[in-house]
Amino acid sequence: MKKVLLLAVFALASAVTYAGGYRVSLQGNKALAMGHTGVAVVNSSESVFFNPAALVYLEDKFSISAGVHGVFSNIAYQDTETGANARTDSPVGTPLYLYASYQATDWLAFGLGVYTPYGSSVEYEDDWAGSHLVNNIDLQAIYIQPTVSFKINDKLSFGGGPIYVTGSVNFNRNLNRTLTDLDGNRSNVTIDASGVSNWGWVASAMVNLTDDLHIGATYRSEIILDAEDGTAEFENIPNSPLTPFENTSIKASLPMPAEMTVGMSYDFCESWTFAFDYNRTFWDVYNSLDIDFANEAIPDSKNARNYKNASIYRFGMQYDATKMFTLRAGYYFDESPVREGYFAPETPRNDSNNFTAGLTVNLGEHLQIDASFLYSHFKEVDASYNYYFENGVAVPFKGTYKTNAFVPGLGLTYKL
């Protein structure tokens, strides 16, 4: 097993890419502890997210899982040319999830999920070296997904449902590298949009090749959040007709990319499970972040992103140690969708190696406590964003980034 893992890691490490995005893979403590695998795991109502088709195979009549993760993420930046350096002081993110499943008949189950697969919270010190690109950003998207799951037979089931998304974004940056008011306060803009909603869908299938070997596939559709009446608030603007920045409304689109997952799980030696998931996130929809100001005097803001589709390779193990404890561990390699030259500091993620562990404590027949821990390791990377322009001249923002994240999580499962 260890060998397989190592091989896989080496094979992937040679594919040099930059990584990132604002995907937050924290959709269940049990799954996260196993490297966030789950498309082929029949385990708990977390399947509402990972594979709705699996719900119909759950043994419990009713199951509910809820939990929270604490995201402690840090970004350090430095430019050896000038000595400029910065560290984020981002607030602790607390993405939540809630899943419920109900076994209606032998062949039909219903489920409901509330989860937050996309989001970002990054806060640099105001007026830092890259403040013309971002001072701070807070992006949230809540997915609400009613689900149906039905089996054709013991070998094959399907599942799916509509997804309602409501999102919000708050983004602040300086207008450029130098503009200030008379007293030297940097001119900046805050973009705010909330209650932006849209619909999408999820569909999945599960195949049980044997009692121990499962294969699953889940597709979650792309959902574009179109903010029609966001606001732009300008601050510290000089009193001059040459700087006509007045508060106005904005239009902007932020895509939540589609994601395809296929994977397998294998139960062996009675109390062991191995799982592998492959995610493909269709980031190529995120081509440019454009902000259209209603006030025509203010030029629209175009920010090239040019993301590419990216893959994640996930491996997980589960061991039912005792009646009371189930132990889990996992690893995943997260490939960045960011192309070279597009490394923007609002989501400065390169490829990451992620290590997970966790356990479930069975408190009687009905109640479980699920705990998990994730450590995301990013290599130090020299990168630049080359698509910021001043007066038509490209001004690359270069530097070295080092990022990490620690994510403890805690959840409860109640089942009947």
Partner: protein, 510 residues
């Protein structure tokens, strides 16, 4: 459950805050950057308005924050540099008060007029920096706007009582350690381990900006007899300059010396074209007719009589043509013919004789100063539409820097620069050729991350709205030059700045 969660996260929060990502070699580590053989722990900068961070015709806080010594000191922090204090003004207006009365003007800002045209105007409002409020303590930045080389060693230059008579400097009066203090004395008293000295600009600049209204004092070794717009004698400069360098290096401090740029590199002298007068063919012919007798009879006659040389006669010819024309001007370096022209055989009326007395047309290698733009082509007497400055009324001598005057400036500054470079060599100090660096900005410009830095007025990025002093970006360029020289001389690796991160002019409407 909620409490368990809360406490768990509280404990974890404490744990993970300390898990900051660490670079393999952080720029903030001691030793990442090196000061080489220099010790930057106590840096003191000595100089004039350029060192103070003066810009837009005034000294104000944001300008001071972007002074080249302050930019350098921030970069020095990476290589063992210490705190750097400046005698900050009280506001961003820039004007000075003395006992509540305003004695210097507020800064310029770029304002848009009623017709939508942007241009420099003085910022309106009452400034709050009163020089009778003495600042306490000493300041690393000893840049004193207006100071000439010999002022730095003059006791009493910071005595507020001497400000109204011009015997003392209002900026130094704010922070001089005593009434009899000298700038150089107060600098040395701080025991600097490192210094910069950039002085001598005003020894020629006030002569230049006044259009040569002062006197070239070359040969006069007593600066106490000099007027404000005079050129300092090069020997006086050499004497006080070496005195200053000796004082600053007496305790073994290392440092950097900066030489004097040419005035032709700054927009104050290069913005107003010499042929700024547009004329149609009819007007030009009319004007030429009026000067026909002067050109063809009077000037040759004077040359024949030996009153003026044939060269001067040629220089004084007045000729207009259709298109752009050189304005007429008064040049006090010409022979004054006022009296002669009133006598025989010319017998001109006194008024006309006075007009022609030191008259000539501006030549293409003269320099018209920036403030002439508000006079050139105007009619000062509303009742006389024919009285146009530059066409029928000569430009004041103070608005034109003639080639003769330029030659005096060049001679003096060449001598100063020889002294500066020789002393840097003799003392093993870093040397910055600001003259060459500024010439690069003026001739084609310097490419930076985001554009080209030029000396074009308002738009070039290097010069503030007074046309003489740099913008923050211009000062950042200067800071990089000096850091480069320090790195080269002292085997140091002090990081430079991206000058595109520094602002240029400030836009604001009153």
């Amino acid at each position: 459950m909620k409490n368990i969660l809360k406490y768990t996260f509280a404990v974890l929060a404490v744990g993970f805050v300390s898990c900051e990502p660490e670079f393999d070699s952080p720029v903030t580590d001691d030793g990442f950057y090196s000061s080489g053989t220099a010790n930057l722990s106590k840096y003191v900068s000595v100089g004039n308005s350029l060192t103070a961070g003066y810009a837009d015709g005034a000294l104000y806080i944001t300008g001071q924050e972007n002074s080249y010594p302050n930019i350098m000191a921030e970069q020095f922090m990476f290589a063992g540099g210490g705190e750097f204090s400046q005698p900050l003004m009280n506001d961003n207006m820039g004007g000075l008060l003395l006992g509540g009365t305003q004695i210097t003007e507020n800064r310029f800002v770029l304002a848009v007029d009623a017709n939508g045209n942007p241009g420099p105007v003085r910022l309106e409002g009452t400034p709050t920096t009163d020089i009778s409020n003495k600042l306490s303590g000493s300041f690393n930045n000893m840049g004193v706007p207006g100071a000439k080389s010999f002022h730095l060693v003059a006791p009493g230059y910071g005595n507020v009582a001497g400000v109204p008579t011009g015997a003392a400097n209002p900026y130094f009066a704010r922070f001089a350690s005593s009434e009899n203090a000298t700038v150089i004395g107060d600098a040395v008293a701080q025991n600097p381990t490192f210094f910069s000295l950039w002085i001598g600009n005003n020894d020629i600049l006030s002569y230049a900006t006044s259009g040569g209204a002062g006197v070239d004092q070359t040969g006069n070794f007593d600066p106490s007899t000099y007027g404000g717009n005079d050129i300092t004698d090069p020997n006086v400069f050499a004497s006080v300059y070496s005195q200053q360098v000796d004082a600053l290096t007496a305790s073994g401090a290392k440092g950097v010396l900066v030489n004097i740029p040419e005035v032709t590199s700054i927009p104050y002298f290069t913005t107003v074209p010499t042929n700024a007068i547009p004329l149609d063919a009819t007007t030009a012919a009319q004007l030429n007719a009026q000067f026909a007798a002067y050109n063809t009879q009077i000037l040759p006659g004077l040359a024949a009589l030996g009153v003026i040389t044939p060269e001067e006669a040629a220089l004084r010819m007045i000729n207009f043509s259709a298109g752009q024309n050189f304005p007429i001007m008064t040049d006090d370096d010409l022979t004054d013919l006022t009296t002669i022209l009133q006598g025989a055989p010319f017998s001109l009326p006194p008024q006309l004789a006075a007009l022609l007395g030191q008259l000539r047309q501006v030549k293409s290698d003269d320099l018209i100063v920036l403030i002439a733009s508000s006079e050139l082509g105007t009619t000062p007497d509303p009742n006389n539409p024919q009285g146009v400055i530059g066409i029928t009324i000569p430009l004041r001598d103070g608005l034109v820097l003639s080639t003769t005057e330029q030659a005096r400036i060049t001679a003096a500054s060449t001598a100063y620069n020889a002294t500066i470079q020789a002393l840097a060599g003799a003392k093993g100090l870093a040397f910055v050729d600001a003259k060459a660096a500024l010439a690069r900005v003026a001739n084609g410009g310097v490419v930076y991350d985001g554009g080209v830095l030029t000396s074009q007025f308002v738009t070039g990025g290097a010069f503030s709205l007074d046309g003489v002093h740099p913008t923050p970006r211009g000062y950042a360029y200067t800071a990089n030059l000096i850091i480069q020289a320090i790195n080269d001389t002292y085997d140091a690796t002090i990081p430079m700045v991206h000058i595109g991160n520094y602002a240029t002019i400030t836009v604001t409407n009153n």
